[in-house]
């Protein structure tokens, strides 16, 4: 029974976890915007979510593969943070995190309604 509940909410839970990890990486990019030789990092969310949901229930999801971002305009001090792109990604990730949260909340409400009726 608990396993079924777990399975029901697994997708959104994994999505939420990955979103918060990505948020952390993007925050680090913004924080290091002025650090010489810092390389901006990110991961492919779709790929990471697929890998996480493909793992067997109970097994730990694999950590997302963190890659360096390809800068559109490289800077002379070796820093590859592009503030505009990072801020856009950060805002995008925030909204999507909130969306995952909303979906998870709705699923919880659905389950609660089923339990109480």
């Amino acid at each position: 029974m608990i396993d079924a509940l777990d399975q029901f909410m697994r997708f959104q839970t994994e999505a939420l976890k990955l979103r918060s990890q990505r948020q952390e990486l993007l925050a680090a990019n913004v924080a290091n915007a002025d650090t010489p030789s810092y390389k901006a990092v990110d991961f492919d969310f779709a790929k990471a979510l697929k890998a996480a949901t493909d793992t067997q229930p109970g097994a730990a999801a694999p950590a997302p593969e963190v890659l360096y971002r390809q800068p559109a305009q490289a800077s002379l001090d070796g820093n590859t943070v592009e503030m505009d792109a990072e801020r856009a990604q950060f805002a995008d990730n925030t909204v999507r995190y909130e969306a995952a949260l909303k979906f998870l909340n709705a699923q919880l409400k659905t389950m609660l309604a089923a339990l109480q009726s």
Binding site: Q23, A28, A31, V41, L101, L108
Partner: protein
Amino acid sequence: MSLFNIFDIASSAMSAQTERLNVTASNIANADSAAGPDGEAYRAKQVVFQAVPSDEANGNGPAKVRVAGVVEDASPARKVFDPKHPLADGQGYVTMPNVSIVDEMVNMMSASRSYQSSVEVMNTAKTLLEKTLSLGS
């Protein structure tokens, strides 16, 4: 929990930018601190930022910022011809600091903008955490 880590990262950036702002303030304040023929003139100082992994024990995790050190600007001191100046040397030149006001103003604006970005990142993380806490209600 990842979102809590954002507070650490953003606050490390904020303190690094504050230090940069502090050094800039010192440079601008001393832009005209002249020195005599034998005394050393004030030298402009610059901070050096360094990225350090947030999980320092294991050497991984998203990078925080640390001020690796404050270095002195190596550019030559400005010589101003002013024979009436009490600190002028034999040729009538006064040694002035090598502070470039334009550079310092740019540094100041850059530091304050970066600080603002970090504040915004922190605020967003806080909002997200609050929303996560109210999950299921």
